[in-house]
Subunit: 299 residues, 2 copies
C-alpha cells in the first residue's frame, strides 16, 4: 500500500494547475462566438475530480516529463472526457439535468449549444495535442494524437457508449459488461496513463507493460466504483442525478454481481493494480495513491 | 476560363476513389459496435458531390502529391464535413429528415446514434491525419492536424454553426453574414485546399498566397450558391429538404441581397477566384474547373 503522505497536496496542486491550464487553453468567452465559448468554459471549468489529468501527471512523474507538457496532455484528455459528458447528458442519451452539482449544459444553455460545445471541445482536444512540443520527436507526438483518437472513437469511448445504449433493457453477462466498460471508460483512462508516460524519457518495455496493465485494471476499477456509487449514493453526495442506471434498466456491476461482490471485485482490482506497480518503486507512488483514491471516493 | 475537357472524367475518378477510400477507412459494420459502425457508413458512404475531397486532390495536383496521401487527407476532411451534417440535421439543430436523398441518420437510426456517429466520425478524421505519412516530415504532418482542427472547431466550422444558430430570427448585415460563413462553410473549404497543397513538394510563398485567396473566395462562393439553391430548388432536385432557410428565418445571401444580386456576387467571386489562379498555369486547371463546377451546380 502507498505511504504517499503528500498525495492530498500533490492532488490539489495538479487539480489547480489543470484548472488554470484549461482556462488558458479554452477560448475566452469575450471572443466570438461568445455564447459557444462561454458554454465551453461552463462545461469544462470549475468542477470534477480531474481523475484523467491526475493520471497523466502521475504517469509523467515516472518519466520525469516536463510539467507544461503534462498540462497540455492532461487538458486534451480532460476535454475529450468533458465533451463526452456534455453529449451523454443530452435528452436523447441519458437525459441528465445535473452534473458536478450544476445544471447540465443543455439545461443551462440549450440542446443545440450542448451539441456544438461537445463537438468543439473534442476538436480542441486534438488541436492541443497537435501543437507545442509534447514528446521527444514530432513522430512520437503524432503517435500520441493517434493514441488519443483510438481511445476516443468508435473502438474506444464512443463505441462503449454505443454498446451501453444498445444494452439498455438487456441482460448482459460479465464478459459483455467488461467488453463495454473497457471501451466506455477504460480506454480514456488507459490513454491518460500511456500519454503521460510518453511525455518524458523512454520507459523500459517491462515497465511500459506494467503501466499498461495497471491502466486497464484501474479503468475497470473506476467503472465498478462508479456503479457502486450510483447504487448507493444520493444525488447531493454524487453531484449528479443518482440511481439513473437502475431507472434506465442499464446493466451495472452491481446489478450483475450484487453490491457485496462488486465491492470485493473492486478490492481485487485495486490489489492487482498496486502489486503491478510495486517494482517501479518510489516513482510510482502517485499512481498507487490514485488507484486507492479511486476506491476511497466511494467506500 | 478553364478549358479542362477532362474535368468530368477526373471528377468522377476522384469521387470514385474517395468512396473506395472511405469504405476502407471506416470500420466495417461487421465489427462491434455493429450498429454504430453501420450508421457511420450509412452517413458517409454513397452520396454527396465530395467537393472537399475534389479540392484536396485538385490542390494536391499542384504539388505532385502522391494520390494515396491525398485519399487519406480527402477522407479526413470529408468525415469532418459528414459529422457536421449528421449533427446539423438533428432535431435540436436544423431538424432535417432528408439528406443526399436519404433519410437523415437520426431518422434512419435514432437521435442517440446520430449523436455518436457524428462524434466518432470527427475522431476518425483526426486519427486518419495522425497515421500514415502525409507530408515531408512528421512536424509538417502535425501542422496538418492543427490546421484541420483550427478549421473545424469553435473558431471555424462549429463556431460558424453557433453564430448561425444565434442569428435565427435576427437581421444580419453583410459583414456579419460573411463573418459567419467564413467560419461555417469557408474554413473547411479552405482547409481542404491548403491540406492538399501541403502533401507534396513545397509551394512558393506567392503561389501559396494565391491558393489561400482562391480558397477563401470559393468558400464564400459555395455558400452564396447554396443560398441560391435553397431559395430556388425544389426538394427532389436538392436531395435535401428545400426552403428550410426561409422557413427558419435564417439570414442568407438571397434574403440579404436579393436573388439577382446574390447571383451577380457569385459571378464576381468566381471571376476573382479564376484570375487568382491564372499565374499557376496548367497545374491549376482542376482548381479552376472546380470553381466553375461550384457555380454550375445551380444556375
Amino acid at each position: 500500500m502507498s505511504t504517499d503522505s503528500d498525495f492530498p497536496r500533490w492532488m490539489a496542486a495538479v487539480q489547480q494547475r489543470t484548472e488554470t491550464a484549461l482556462g488558458v487553453f479554452l477560448p475566452p468567452s469575450s471572443q466570438a462566438p461568445t455564447r459557444l465559448h462561454e458554454a465551453m468554459r461552463y462545461a469544462a471549468l470549475g468542477g470534477g475530480k480531474r481523475v484523467r489529468p491526475l493520471l497523466v501527471h502521475a504517469a509523467g512523474h515516472l518519466v520525469d516529463a516536463a510539467p507544461d507538457r503534462l498540462d497540455r496532455i492532461a487538458c486534451a484528455v480532460e476535454l475529450i472526457h468533458v465533451y463526452s459528458l456534455v453529449h451523454d447528458d443530452m435528452p436523447c442519451m441519458d437525459d441528465d439535468v445535473l452534473r458536478r452539482g450544476k445544471p447540465t449544459v443543455h439545461v443551462e444553455y440549450d440542446e443545440a449549444t450542448a451539441l456544438l460545445v461537445g463537438d468543439a471541445l473534442q476538436t480542441r482536444a486534438f488541436e492541443l495535442l497537435a501543437e507545442g512540443q509534447l514528446a521527444e520527436s514530432p513522430a512520437a507526438q503524432l503517435g500520441m494524437v493517434a493514441l488519443l483518437a483510438a481511445a476516443s472513437g468508435s473502438h474506444g469511448m464512443a463505441g462503449g457508449q454505443a454498446i451501453d445504449l444498445a444494452a439498455v433493457g438487456h441482460q448482459l453477462n460479465r464478459a459483455e459488461l467488461e467488453f463495454m466498460h473497457i471501451r466506455k471508460t477504460g480506454a480514456l483512462i488507459r490513454a491518460s496513463v500511456l500519454l503521460g508516460a510518453r511525455a518524458g524519457r523512454p520507459l523500459a518495455d517491462a515497465d511500459h507493460q506494467r503501466l499498461d496493465h495497471y491502466s486497464k485494471q484501474i479503468g475497470l476499477l473506476f467503472q465498478v466504483v462508479d456503479d457502486i456509487l450510483d447504487a448507493e449514493a444520493d444525488t447531493a453526495t454524487l453531484g449528479k442525478t443518482a440511481g439513473k442506471d437502475a431507472e434506465h434498466g442499464k446493466p451495472t456491476y452491481v446489478s450483475l454481481l450484487g453490491l457485496n461482490d462488486a465491492k470485493a471485485y473492486a478490492e481485487e482490482l485495486l490489489a492487482d493494480a498496486l502489486s503491478t506497480l510495486a517494482p517501479l518503486g518510489e516513482r510510482g507512488v502517485h499512481l498507487q495513491a490514485l488507484a486507492e483514491f479511486i476506491v476511497r471516493r466511494s467506500f
